[in-house]
């Protein structure tokens, strides 16, 4: 009994002394004020945000025909993970709960887009978490580049040394346009894009609107020169200072003859299995893909820089100062694989005035029957 009194006395006394001494500085930090908690939490949350491969997350992956990368840096997906209690960080071997107060907020700055999540950690501690979009742009390495003109008959040399250029990894999506139109008060565009699926490619905006959209993020419409640079595989990736500017036709190989599509274009005998066809449709979605759905942001289409969706699918508009009448990537679902239109650097012209046949110059790649619903996408680039 005596021992208990002494021990209790010691504890009480030390507590009291600690309390009075601690008035100048708070003794206990809350969980979210602790440096080691925030450190571990930011590393763990960053991985989930950027990789989107969290265990048990299938409940939040609902979009159709999209590559897994669609969920990377996707605030709706991240919100879904929180709502379903799928993000439970550990702190000193204990699981901590995370809940969200209200909706996330979005802020578009000239350098990046970020999202603010108002969290409640361990049911007690408020924490404002900001997640920045690190998944949208890829860097164009500093090196010599070829720029193809006149349907690849002319090669213009240029270099990006001393310049930091970034390119959108994918074509701009409906959701991006809808959010921008809401922010900019463009009611007509809001009404049009509200009806469209978020994940699909945003098409058929005016050049002025494309430019305004890119501008709003501190960017410009992608130029044909930078398109070629990010898509054409260099002869020697490891040697940026060497001016070896042979430009292979396809983004995923340095040797044309090693690709199935080259053999198709050369009318050579090709043994195309079903899996080969599926793969080729994800690289170059052409009129041969017929009943197969377009896979958005497919990893199969990745170029040497990490950009995607460079051949097939929809037409892509780009600016071209040196050859203004070559501003449209023609490789698209309107042509079969055997057409040589499916080669990097092959371009046509769009006057930007409308979407009927007389607004286009397709040269030797004229379409026998011009589609009623021709689609033109675009992407942005940044000079940092």
């Amino acid at each position: 009994m005596k021992k208990i009194v002494i021990v209790t006395g010691i504890l009480t006394l030390s507590g009291l002394v600690g309390y009075f001494f601690g008035q100048k500085k708070p003794v206990d930090l809350t969980l979210v004020e602790k440096s080691d908690f925030l450190k571990d939490f930011s590393i763990e949350v960053g991985k989930i945000w950027r990789n989107a491969d969290h265990e048990g997350d299938t409940i939040c992956k609902k979009a159709k025909n999209v590559d897994e990368s669609y969920y990377q840096c996707n605030p709706s997906y991240f919100k879904c993970l929180i709502s379903n209690s799928l993000i439970t960080p550990y702190y000193q071997k204990n699981k901590i709960s995370i809940a969200q107060n209200g909706e996330f907020q979005t802020r578009v700055t000239p350098s990046h887009t970020e999202y603010l999540f108002d969290l409640l950690v361990d049911k007690k501690y408020p924490l404002k978490l900001r997640l920045k979009d690190s998944c949208r742009e890829v860097y164009l390495p500093q090196r010599f580049y070829p720029f193809m003109a006149n349907q690849r008959t002319v090669t213009i040399e240029w270099d990006s040394f001393g310049r930091d250029i970034f390119v959108d990894k994918n074509l701009v999506r409906n959701k991006d346009i809808l959010n921008w139109a809401k922010r900019s008060g463009k009611e007509k565009i809001v009404q049009e894009f509200e009806k469209k699926p978020d994940e699909e490619i945003a098409t058929n905006l005016s050049i002025e609107d494309m430019s305004s959209f890119c501008s709003s993020q501190g960017k410009h419409i992608l130029s044909a020169r930078v398109y070629d640079a990010m898509a054409i595989h260099p002869e020697d990736i490891a040697s940026p200072d060497i001016k070896l500017l042979r430009a292979p036709y396809f983004p995923w190989s340095r040797k044309n003859t090693e690709t199935k599509i080259f053999k198709i274009q050369k009318n050579l005998e090709v043994n195309l299995s079903e899996s080969d066809r599926l793969r080729l449709c994800q690289r170059v979605y052409s009129s041969d893909c017929g009943e197969l759905d377009y896979i958005h942001q497919s990893i199969e289409s990745t170029t040497w820089t990490g950009a995607k969706e460079t051949l097939g699918g929809v037409f892509e508009y780009m600016t071209n100062t040196i050859h203004p009448r070559e501003n449209l990537k023609l490789s698209s679902r309107y042509y079969p694989w055997k057409s040589k239109v499916h080669r990097l650097g092959v371009r046509g012209y769009w006057d930007g005035e409308g979407f009927s046949a007389n607004n286009f110059e397709l040269g030797k790649y004229n379409l026998v029957k011009f589609p009623d619903n021709i689609e033109i996408g675009f992407r942005c680039m940044r000079f940092k």
Partner: protein, 273 residues
């Protein structure tokens, strides 16, 4: 009774030691606008001048400037670590203060940067406390520094975790169209440091001097190559030119639309006419 008092003393001492380090970590780990004193950062043990307040770093918090000071030890007086606050102007060691500890020596302050999360953007304080050498690591969660970019990199600056930060949206000033956001002079010095990230509508580079960091940059939409607009830069190595300036009439350093030629204007910018 002596034993009880001794135990109480031990308990209090332990508590206060844990406290100042945790408090310092808390106060520094989520700060923005950090400025490290390059004279003392990564320069080893701070010994001199003796018995003097040295400003190690400063940062802003809700329009108040806070400064971390270290008073170097002198004779039997140990080193002191404190943060002072001022509304405006320079750091003042005698302003309103918050003392963390008065019992350390042989302090060195290091900023750790690298490619890997967990060992990058960390402020490290190494010090001697009693006979024990200790290390305090403070992850600078909101502190951003420019990156040297490479293939597959994203456009964000480098921070502890590039895409994660804490606290409310941080409002930065933006630059209007036409403003110079990166100025380069004829000696290839940056007369205006690159802050083109702040341009409201993006930035464009112009052709002026033959410099490894490229030409000067202005805020605005990209109309390069069009009539009366800057020429589109072709690059600096591709020409193999040793001229100090690439701005002269007919210069091949810039591209223009068909039918236009390059001319050097009065501001020493290559334009298309």
């Amino acid at each position: 009774m002596k034993l009880i008092l001794f135990l109480v003393f031990i308990l209090i001492s332990c508590q206060s030691q844990i406290d100042w380090k945790s408090s310092l970590q808390k106060d520094l780990n989520a700060i923005t606008n950090l400025e490290l004193n390059s004279r003392y950062t990564n320069k080893g043990i701070i010994k001199t001048p003796l018995n003097t307040w040295i400003s190690l770093l400063s940062y802003k918090e809700n329009s108040i400037k806070r400064c971390l000071f270290y008073k170097t030890p002198f004779k039997d007086k140990l080193g002191v670590l404190k943060i002072t606050s001022v509304r405006k102007g320079k750091c003042d060691p005698f302003a309103k203060e918050l003392i963390y500890t008065k019992s350390l020596e042989e302090l060195s302050i290091n900023y750790l940067s690298g490619d890997h999360i967990e060992n990058s953007n960390i402020l490290e304080l190494v010090f001697l406390m009693g006979s024990e050498r200790k290390k305090l690591e403070i992850p600078l969660l909101n502190y951003e520094v420019p990156k040297k970019y490479k293939r597959y990199d994203n456009q964000l600056n480098s921070s502890f975790v590039d895409d994660v930060a804490f606290g409310d949206f941080f409002v930065k000033k933006t630059l209007k169209d036409g403003q110079l956001c990166h100025g380069v002079n004829s000696s290839c010095q940056d007369v205006v440091a690159n802050n083109c990230d702040l341009c409201e509508n993006g930035a464009v580079e112009v052709v002026d001097f033959n410099c490894p960091q490229g030409g000067s940059k202005y805020c605005g939409q990209n109309n390069c190559g069009k009539k009366n607009e800057p020429a589109c830069p072709r690059g600096y190595k591709v020409l193999g030119s040793k001229l100090a300036s690439l701005c002269f009439d007919g210069s091949p350093a810039g591209f223009c639309e068909p039918g236009l030629k390059t001319y050097c204007n009065k501001k020493n910018i290559l334009v298309c006419l």
